[in-house]
Every structure is written in structure tokens, then in C-alpha cells.
Symmetry: C2
Amino acid sequence: MAVDFLKGISAELKWVETLIANRLESKYPEMVPLIKHSLKKTGKMLRPAFAILFGKIVGIEDEKSVKIGATLELLHNSTLVHDDVIDNADIRRGQKTHNSIWDNTITVLYGDYMFATAMNIAVELENIDVLRKIASVSKSLVTGELIQNANAFNFPPKREVYFEIIKLKTAVLFSACCSLPLIVGGKEDLLPLAEKFGEKLGIAFQIVDDCLDFKADLKKLGKPKLIDLPEGKATLPVLLAMENGEEDVVDIVQRVFKSKGDVFDERDKKTLVKILEKNGYLKEAFDFAKILISENMEILERFENNEYRKTLFKICDFIINREF
Amino acid sequence: MAVDFLKGISAELKWVETLIANRLESKYPEMVPLIKHSLKKTGKMLRPAFAILFGKIVGIEDEKSVKIGATLELLHNSTLVHDDVIDNADIRRGQKTHNSIWDNTITVLYGDYMFATAMNIAVELENIDVLRKIASVSKSLVTGELIQNANAFNFPPKREVYFEIIKLKTAVLFSACCSLPLIVGGKEDLLPLAEKFGEKLGIAFQIVDDCLDFKADLKKLGKPKLIDLPEGKATLPVLLAMENGEEDVVDIVQRVFKSKGDVFDERDKKTLVKILEKNGYLKEAFDFAKILISENMEILERFENNEYRKTLFKICDFIINREF
């Protein structure tokens, strides 16, 4: 886990990991290597962190927040496993993907297994309102994936489609992380605020994530990753450039999309990154995320002022300043 | 829907279909063709039929039984959609599969969408005990698929693996169909009986299904389908023959499995079917199913005697006498 300022809840995050490991466990030896592999490397654990922090703020039992966090993290990870099959990805979080070790068949089923396990953890919360939201979130996540796939390589790409996908795939999940503890704690008054906070946070997080695809990746010899465009995804900086009539960008996107990602040479890459950087589209996209985050800072003021709220402020800060 | 004696509950089965269609519905135009296609042809609807019949017997509201039936049918269908990707199948229920029209990517996601939708229907029942069972069933289904895949082409195939897979993939689901209405209705006394009934029924159903793979298929020029063995699955009649030391069967299975299903010529097919038929292994497997069904007839005697129980008797009868 890479994020220092989450040290204050590291015990609870460890608990989330243990719970996930525990619930994935199977008496069938055939399952063991698949499960072990999926536990090797965790992500930033931001989603469970929000569940735990909001849980602390509204004063519900840690066990409940941990179960919310574990459910949503596992749900998220199950979609990543299917994503890796779809994108034919070999590496995720510096680790070989399931599909690169086993085959697509086993990996699809293992993703299903994670999804089913998430639902089993959710049920342990014994709260219908919580389950209703989790079931709804799971449907949004998949719908988002489907919409993204159906629109991949569509030219010209549309801003409203981009935002719809972000909402379905990321914002809805973040929103659930932040608001489910309030449902458990019966804090109806603050519930809409927590929902709104999570939604804005998710959108900001995804926009920054998308921007980082164009920024120099220090681990990789200073080159940007540039993986979204050849997968048929035009993200906010590109959309802003196109909307502003940047002909070179329009040409490049058209060429990449027409060739289904095959035609994207070094010159195009350099041109694209240069325009997005020099003409301010990356900044504009970042600024968009920053506005959402500053709105969130205001929302946070409405919650009790304690160390956990402070951590939330720090996470907000991290999200718009992160480089990974 | 092909089964005549279900006429008495045809309105409720229609309701299940409508509910599924309704809950799959999406505001996103990208989803519409996928959803429409999955509604084109329903299966035998046996699973919802059991939920409805047991619901009638214990006197719960039809709406609840319909929701149980819709959840479990959709859960079942979601696994079939992923199955078709895995088996690279073109046709299911006389209809083109999703993966043969769209690609594997979209189909995997659409299977996830069905799974998520099933969970959303389940939540409408607003009953934690029901949800706990449904979540657990979904995990069993996937585990069964994984165990089946991990053991495909393993030589020699083992009887205990065969029965474990049947239990996880079929019996657990049938058991849920029969027993969930009793959980809803608070009939704790009869609950273990309904569970047992469903479990035996599921095992019998699957064994008969597996036997039919070796029986002449009248729709297909009188030839048996023989699709299980080249997919690496040795079913009960084959296992019985191997356990009894039928050398030709052992040789054929070894050859088919070693070649991952590629080597399975007409002579082998004829020899296999002939031995299974003439030396009584198909009958032995059928008899195994018949014993389970006759045990079920006894269990049924413990439930109230009415038209719905009569239908259950008929379904039991159908299961061991069906030819499709």
C-alpha cells in the first residue's frame, strides 16, 4: 500500500485485506493458486479507505466499515480481472495478470468468483438498504464497461459518453464507499452529502488518472504510457483539444480509431502529447478535477472535525497531485 | 416453453419472463440489442417452475415466488452466457449465442450484467436469509464451473469430481429454487425437506442430461450429440464403464482427453455408444437418477396434497423420461 497518510487506518485496511483473503478461501485445491495470485498485490486501497474513514466519522463499528470496504474493493477487483481479459493485458500493478498465467476461460470464471464472493461479504452486513445499493453499484459498473466497449473507436468521440462512463464505472463506486457507512449508521441527514462527495471524488480521480496517461512516466524511461487512445478511448484532454478544433489531434484520433489502435507512431505520439501539454488541454482537464475537489473540501466542512476528516482532506489533495 | 404440464402455472411463468425483461431493460441504447437477443428464446423454465410450485404449496404471495424464480433463472442464464464463451459455442436453444453475434468481450460483460441484474431482483425480496442463500448459490455455481474447467481432460476422470461438479453447478441451484419459498414463508419445519428434494432433483436432472448426450437425437438425423467427452467431461455412464474395466472405453477416453478433444472419430463414437448402451451403463446411470427421483416422491408425500404437488410429481416423472 503506497499512500503514507493512510497510516492512521492501516490496521483497518489490513483487516480488509485479511477479510477478503478469508472469504475468497476455498476448500477446493483447484482454486488455491488462483486465489493466492489475486492476493499477491493489492492496489492503493483507496475505496476501502473511504469506507473506513466515513465509518469512523459517523461512528459505526469498524467491522461494518471493513465489510463495506472489502465488498467494494473485491467488486472493483473483479471488474479489473475481466478488464484484463478484455484488454488482453499481461501486467497489472506490476504483477502478471490471471489471464497471462492461466487462460481467458479460467480468468473469466475467477472474476465471477470474486464478484460472487463480494456479494457474500455484502450479505454479512445484514442490511437491505446496503445490499440494494451494492447490487445497484454492481450493475452500474458492468453497464459502464459495456457502454465503454460499445463506444470504443467511435469517431468522433463524445464528451457526454466520456462522462457517462466515468460516472458508471468510477463515481458510482466511490459514492457507495463514502455513503454506505452512513446508511449503516442511520445518518440520513448527511447521506446526500456523502454521496455527492464520493461522486465528485470518483470523477476527479478518473480524470486525473486519464491525464496521467499523457504525462511522463518516470518508471518507464520518462515516456508517457499512452494506452487509452489505442484502446479506442478518448479521454478529457483529447476531447477538449478536439472540441477546440485542434486539427492535428482530430487527425491523430481519427487515424488511431480507424485502424483500431494499430496506427499510432512515435511522431503522432509526440505531436499529441505536445499539443495537449503546450496548448493547455491537460491543465484544463486537471483544473476540471481540481474544481470538483475544491467543492468536496467544502462538503467536508459539514462533517465533524477530527483526525479522520483531516485524512479525507489529505486524500483529496493526493488525488489531484498524485503521479501514479 | 416446452413442458405441457406446467400449463397450470403458465401465467406465473410468463410473469417471470416479463419481470426478467423488465429488470434487464436499460436506458442505454447500446444495451438494447444484447438484451433483446437474450430474451428471444427462454429455456424450459424448470427452475422458476419449482420456485412457483413450492411457493404455491406453502402459500406465499406469487410475486415473491416470481422474484425468486426470476433471480435464479437469470443467475443460471448468466452462467450459460459465460459457458458459451468458454466453449466457443455458436448455438444455444436453437438460437445463435451472444458470442457468435458479438465478440467474447461484450459477451463476458453481458453475462456480468445478467448476474448483476439477478442480484438486483433478489434484493427486491427484502429478506436477508433469502439473500444469504442466493449469494451462496452464486458462489457455488462459479466454483462448480471452475472445478469443471480445472479438471477437464484429467485422466483418469474421477467419480467424486463428477458428483462434486453436479452438486455445485446444478443441485445447489435446484435446491435453492425449491427451498427459498419456504424461507420466505417461514416454514422452517419443511425447509430441510425442500432443500433435500431440490438437491436430489438437480442431481437426477443432470445425470439424465448427461445420459442424453449419448442417446440418438431425433432432430439431428438420429445421431447422438456426444459433446461432453470432447470438452474433457467424462459423465456418469462413461465413469461406470471405466470403473467396470471396459478397456475400449478407457482407451477412447484416454485418446480423446490426450488430444484435448481433437481425436474422436466415427468408429470411436460408435464403439463408445454401443458399449454404454449394450453393456447397461446408460441404464445404470438412468437407474441412479430414478432412485433419487423415487426418494423425492416420498419426500413430496410430506407436503400438502393439492394440484401443485401433483404438478411436482409430474415434473419428477418428466425429468427421468424426457428426451430433450
